[in-house]
Amino acid sequence: MKELKDYREDIERCVRCGTCRSVCPTLDTVRRESHCARGRLTLIEAYLNGEELGERYLKYIKECTLCGACYSSCPNEIDTPEIILSARAEYVKRKGLPALTTFTLKSLLEPAPLTKFALKVATKLKNLFFKNAPFESGLLSRFSLPLVGDGRLVPAPADPFFLDRAHIRALSTREDYGSLKVGFFVGCGINYLLPSIGESTIRVLEKAGIDVAVPQGQVCCGIPALSMGDVETAKRVMTRNIEVFERYGFDRIVTSCATCGHTLKDVFKLVLQDEPGMKERVEEFAGKIRDVTEFLVDEVGYRAEKREKSAGVVTYHDPCHLRRFQGISEQPRRLLEESPYEFRGMKNPCRCCGLGGGVSFTNYELSIKIAERKAENIKKSGADVVATACPGCIVQLKDALHHHDVRAKVVHVVELL
């Protein structure tokens, strides 16, 4: 992976025009120059120049959602999110990660039997820590828990986890495939929190005549670790995933998580290409990745049997990782035409929901405040259902809508097919 100092030239291309101020969801919320690409690049440049910057520097670069809006609007095409990832890694290399983060990250990303057991126990004890939310499915935390926060609405942990379900396990050893050999990359969001997206994905793919396998042994995509600056853990889980999927010789690997999709397609290369013997392997792997909406529209030509629009009104939120980083925005909308819902767009559909970049963990208050605008726009659209294509966005939007008292359901596009 490139080191921070290798980005110096990119950073120096910044002319300080401030264009990025107009799109940054964090600036909009905090109203402080440190919270836009121009400010963050200035700080990173100062850091590279040996300026003594401390906790506040770390805070400012951590409070970036990595949404990429600055990159898309920058006339000089500076990839600030990539630079910020590198800056976080550099800082961690120098100062280490806080103990709690390390522990939770490691146990979530590479679940040892013991932590799996612990998670399960926690699932059983959830009533102690959570109460049922008044509406929408989900749980409200009773206490201020690390990584959970006061009053946060979280989906109840999957029980059992998606990958542990018997019929999903059975899909790991499939022998018969149609013309395309397709694998499903699950990701943490679906495995631990929103298994219904996984179930719907399998259902829709099978309905479309695609035989899909779900390899056991696959792990987290690695982005949470990388966002926290933990490059070593990221490398390990990424390599592990490649190994697991390589064994199958898939033609396509489908994911229903926008974040995983971007990570598997782009970030894997960024992190692994300079590792010995990995360049070709990671290229080949990345070339097979498809977002489920992209796959269904571009390669399968998905069509519903009947398309009566009787179920209500749906609107669509563009996940940053799908629209900006993968250029996918038409396909999910196309799929919604196949749903029984009438489509109505919202204002600014591609504004970040506020979850990304680890901001939801490092500064929950900021994260939920970023989502306020989103909640307003959803409300104004008058939709009954918000569809999107990323479990992360779904968790965040549910929480945000609850916070801002907007009663719309939030689902993945595939759940409406």
């Binding site: 291309r13 002319v15 300080r16 025009c17 401030g18 264009t19 101020r21 107009s22 109203r31 402080r32 120059e33 440190s34 400010g39 200035t42 700080l43 100062a46 300026e51 003594e52 910057l53 506040r56 520097y57 400012y60 920058c74 006339p75 000089n76 095409e77």
Partner: protein
């Protein structure tokens, strides 16, 4: 640079709550630059919300002799918001109240309201705020007023000053005043302080609220883009369009160097020609159809290579997106951009363009020009290599040539960016010594201790006269 004394810091903390004040290195760095790319470090950053807070801060600063620099979004092109002498940067970012009066067609805005947010809000009520500096998605109303910003619509609609009805302003000595009633379109009681403060570059007072005039929104809009083999021919096209009786709502000129630089980013297919003009017309009752046709005919007569009338909203947005990206994208042409915004009477722009070619050749520098040519305003960018001192020197000589030429052609050395620090060396070329002396007297009357944005507009030695 003096360090803020402890009692001063204590007093500041007493005036503002902790989240609205910072002495931290990280914040200081973030408020040390503007779009000139120059740097100067302040000692603290303040985020007041009200005129009363601003007043308390200024009173203290005035008593202690601490420099205070107002700052909006930091998109200024002449270094206006740089804290040259340290002290306090006063950011207006959090003064964002907005009230619309639909019936009277006026708006009241906090200084930190982003221009775009105002124009969107007006639009939602069927109203129109015409001033549209190319930076409008970022710049603040306070910054626009301080620089008297203009934009593509200047030709037909005028510039910021034409829409300011009144200002709430805090003087460097702490008094809070309102310059006019705010909702009346007229008012001649006493001096026109609104006019004096608009364009004063944050040297006479801190604007906390602005009362602005709005228009009904034009119903229709049409846009065409025409390309030409030379900049000169495109410039002639600009003159002929207006001569033909069309007053476009925007009439922009872009040369080949800019087109190439920006097309690498925006990719709308406009590079490889000598120049392009964008003509936008607005109005009601089918008039735009007639106007755009007339403009098309003129372009054709002038030998345009290609004429495209944008049919879709999306294409219009794309073309404006390209236009907005030009200035920052010029980084691709040279590492240092000496960015000037001269204005000449419209009928002299062809002569100005010819002169630019001579200057470029004579000083051996690349010149990239674009701008709101319809009102005679051309952004001339002299591109040089920052690391080549000899080239930088030639660039600076070219700037001087440019100003001489502009003044000869009956123009002014800055149409909208102001003087700030980057042009203070040249203001004596345009202003008579008596005029300058009067301006200095006005400055001293407002700011006897020279604490508000010192070192701007006037050169240091003038300040001491």
């Amino acid at each position: 640079m003096e360090v803020l004394a402890e009692p001063v810091k204590k007093e500041l903390v007493r005036i503002l709550s902790p989240e609205n004040i910072s002495f931290e290195e990280e914040d200081i760095l973030c408020y040390s630059y503007d779009a000139t790319g120059r740097r100067a470090l302040p000692e603290c950053v303040l985020f007041p919300h009200t005129a009363e807070e601003v007043s308390l801060i200024l009173k203290m600063a005035n008593a202690e002799g601490i420099p205070v620099v107002p700052r909006g979004a930091g998109t200024g092109f002449t270094g206006g918001s740089l804290p040259l002498r340290g002290g306090i940067v006063m950011s207006t970012e959090r003064m964002t109240t907005m009230e619309m009066d639909q019936e009277n067609m006026t708006a009241m805005c906090g200084a930190g309201v982003v221009t775009w947010d105002l124009s969107q809000r007006a639009e939602s009520l069927g109203l129109f705020y015409p001033p549209d500096p190319t930076s409008l998605k970022v710049s603040t109303i306070g910054g626009n007023i301080a620089e008297c910003a203009g934009g593509p619509r200047g030709l037909k609609y005028g510039v910021t000053k034409d829409y300011v009805l009144a200002l709430e302003v805090v003087l460097p000595t702490g008094e809070i005043l309102k310059t006019a009633p705010g909702k009346t379109l007229k008012g001649v009681v006493g001096y026109n302080l609104t006019g004096l403060l608009t364009g004063s570059e944050g040297t006479l007072g801190v604007v906390t609220r602005a009362y602005l005039r709005l228009l009904p929104i034009p119903e229709e809009k049409r846009l065409l883009v025409a390309t030409f083999d030379t900049l000169e021919r495109a410039g002639q096209g600009v003159i002929e369009i207006v001569r033909g009786g069309v007053i476009p709502s925007a009439l922009e000129l872009i040369d080949g160097v800019c087109l190439k630089a920006v097309d690498e980013y925006a990719k709308v297919g406009l590079s490889g020609v000598g120049a392009a003009i964008i003509v936008e017309v607005d109005g009601t009752g089918g008039l735009t159809e007639r106007d755009i046709e007339r403009a098309r005919q003129v372009c054709q007569k002038m030998g345009a290579l290609n004429i495209e009338v944008a049919e879709e909203e999306k294409r219009m947005k794309e073309l404006w997106g390209l236009r907005r990206a030009i200035s920052p994208a010029l980084k691709r042409v040279g590492s240092l951009k000496l960015n000037e915004d001269v204005v000449v009477p419209r009928t002299n722009i062809v002569e100005l363009i010819r002169g630019l070619e001579d200057i470029g050749r004579g000083r051996d520098v690349t010149i990239a020009s674009f701008g709101h040519a319809g009102d005679g305003n051309i952004h001339v960018n002299i591109m040089v290599d920052r690391d080549d001192p000899e080239e930088v020197e030639r660039g600076e000589a070219a700037v001087k040539d440019l100003f001489e030429l502009t003044l000869e052609l009956g123009g002014t050395i800055s149409g909208e960016h102001g003087v700030g620090v980057t042009k203070s060396d040249y203001i004596g070329m345009e202003l008579h010594k008596d005029t300058l002396e009067l301006m200095m007297r006005i400055k001293r009357a407002f700011d006897p201790n020279n604490i508000l944005n010192p070192g701007k507009i006037f050169k240091e030695e003038m300040e001491r006269v």
